[in-house]
Symmetry: C2
Subunit: 386 residues, 2 copies
């Protein structure tokens, strides 16, 4: 796939407004359609959706037909609203909660990454679900799972095992769904933490394009947030880091959002407009997918506080300031095209992230290199060479 020359995709990570992902247990296609109407109405073109693994595969030998049917109905609901769909498979991890079936817990405790029997079960799951969703023409991508590196350390792994795990499951995925993008997703410890057993190289080598998730609570908002240049350009910085390892490969900003308290409510619109504008200048950009579509009802308990209010919409379907800002950027791109800008500089990374993963902290938020990049970025796009 060559670098994007047309407008990037714009979408949302779909968090159901009623009952969060627990709503899979009481699937209501009408409620999903109501949510998708919100998203289509603000000009989005896609949603990323998250089935919950243990409810689909409660026993290693069972993949529930009704759960697949519900997932397909969600995809069809998206089509009815003109939305394409990316499906993540192994959830796995969602907003601090890990969903794990009883066949990998306690008496059956096994690492999802290391245990051959569990990998066999996951292979069957990936194969079956990927095959099913790829039957729908509006599915454009399937990701192995949302930030699977959050499943470590509860599931033990090594860098070599993590790589092989994702590589093998992606082969299964592509065989089952050859005509859609097959993707891997990790949160940014893979880029910034020296001892993290999931590699930055995997993000750029595995799957059909690179995905990055930009969350400013990772340390960057402490550099100069909420509207400082490091905070506002963190998404673009991650894209450039990814691009430095694979210059010809598109990068999907698969998650970005306005977490409080890092980004206070009254600054969320501005943060959104400026963050999205900064990545739009990047020719590697494949798309921007907001986390998340809808808030979490505060009657639901035990979420980290910042997770409740990340929605573009409230639980009662009111468009929030970030949504308004995002919609305006999208409308502008659709009208005027992408505001390309030539790079003003290229900085050489202090470390080869492929060969020296132990030195990843040298490019982390607040590192000397990162701050130098941010300073240069004030004048325009800044490439990174490896």
């Amino acid at each position: 796939m060559a670098l994007q020359t047309t407008a990037p995709r714009f979408g949302a990570n779909y968090v159901p407004s009623a009952g969060w992902f627990y709503s899979w247990l009481d699937y209501d296609g009408d409620a999903v359609r109501r949510d998708f109407a919100d998203l289509a109405g603000m000009g989005l073109d896609h949603v990323r959706v998250f089935p919950v693994w243990p409810w689909i595969q409660p026993n290693r030998a069972i993949i529930r037909e009704q759960a697949i049917a519900d997932l397909l109905d969600t995809i069809d609901a998206a089509a009815e609203h003109g939305l394409t769909v990316a499906v993540d498979l192994i959830q796995g991890h969602l907003s601090s909660f890990d969903f794990l079936p009883s066949w990998v817990l306690t008496w059956h405790k096994s690492s999802l990454f290391e245990d051959p029997t569990v990998r066999e079960g996951l292979t069957a799951y990936v194969d079956t679900v990927a095959r099913a969703v790829a039957s729908r023409p509006n599915v454009f991508a399937i990701t192995l799972g949302n930030e699977v590196n959050n499943l470590w350390p509860d599931s033990s792994t090594t860098a070599a095992t993590s790589t092989a795990w994702a590589h093998e499951l992606l082969i299964t995925l592509k065989k089952a769904a050859p005509n859609v993008l097959g993707l891997h997703s990790v949160f940014d410890d893979a880029w910034y933490k020296g001892d993290h057993p999931f590699l930055a190289a995997d993000a750029v080598d595995l799957g059909d394009l690179t995905t990055v998730h930009s969350w400013v609570f990772n340390g960057v908002s402490r550099v100069d947030g909420p509207l400082g240049p490091a905070t506002l350009t963190h998404a673009d910085y991650l894209i450039e880091l990814a691009r430095s390892l694979a210059p010809e490969r598109p990068v999907w900003l698969q998650e970005v959002g306005v977490p409080g308290p890092d980004i206070p409510v009254d600054l969320q619109a501005e943060f959104t407009r400026r963050t999205v504008s900064s990545v739009l200048t990047n020719p590697a950009l494949y798309g921007v997918t907001w986390w998340s579509s809808h808030d979490i009802d505060r009657r639901l308990l035990d979420f980290p506080d910042r997770e409740y209010d990340l929605g573009l919409f409230t639980v009662d379907h009111q468009r929030k300031p970030a949504a308004q800002a995002f919609a305006e950027v999208i409308a502008d791109v659709r009208l005027n095209g992408v505001p390309r800008r030539e790079p003003v500089a290229t900085l050489r990374a202090p470390v080869d992230l492929r060969t020296e993963p132990g030195r990843r902290a040298e490019v982390a938020p607040g590192s000397e290199f990162h701050l130098r990049w941010v300073a240069a970025r004030a004048d325009g796009p800044v490439r990174i060479s490896s």
Copy 2:
């Protein structure tokens, strides 16, 4: 409640023939009715049923109405077949699998016994489910959960904490369901293992009667199984141990079965007839509830091998030899009454299980005391004094 003078109850622990307990996720009331017809047809009067906790309470604040409705339909299905129902709440543990919601796992890892927030969630769960099922006139008992001591050590606890946990939840249960038996259930490490953090005293002090689970794979079948006197009288031995601590309290043999390879297939009918006959002579006996109603489909994976074949019926509704033997004993009791026999001896336990739980091994299968009791039991019922 005084000691039983009428015929004891006879029932089965209900394991759905199609899809094991995973069938709750795709509830099929017709399939349940078909299973209950098997059980009513062999003369049983009750079933013990097992909802799966994390599918009913996926978030601490959510107790799913549809899941409660499905449970109530199961209870109504039992009524249609003349069966009364005991409901266990916190599953929790079933046949080697622990079912745990994401709000007590990994990032939210908490002990079910020790963590006040989790206990708050469990209290709401017990209150709501107990209140709902007690609305049905054929529900006669509610147990906190199936062998909750299997949830340790994954959930840490101490003996004092375990006692307080069960005591407090039973108060909630009885307040929600004052007119049914409120019960506690533990497997027999509580009787036999000195360092086990669930006490024998709890079994006889908490709840409205004592429950015991007799599984000959606990070591007793190695003494003289499959048809040796120790193996055949283990259930009666447990009842006598329980009675020694609370002489006026009925004891429900809530689980007993024919696990392979300890009890080979060709001896299961005889084991069943003789085990049930031995406990029938015991005036403390409240009832006998076979584990289990139906086999587990061998296409389902990862169960311990012995769990697959414990059913009174096969997955395609064929009555097995143990079922035939059990049915004949039941028919005989209904026709001729209970064969009471006066005790031939009373043996003094070598340890006070209430005050010296650390010495529980002295009454375990194979201990000098146990073997002495078995020898005396050859001539008839043998009481134990504490």
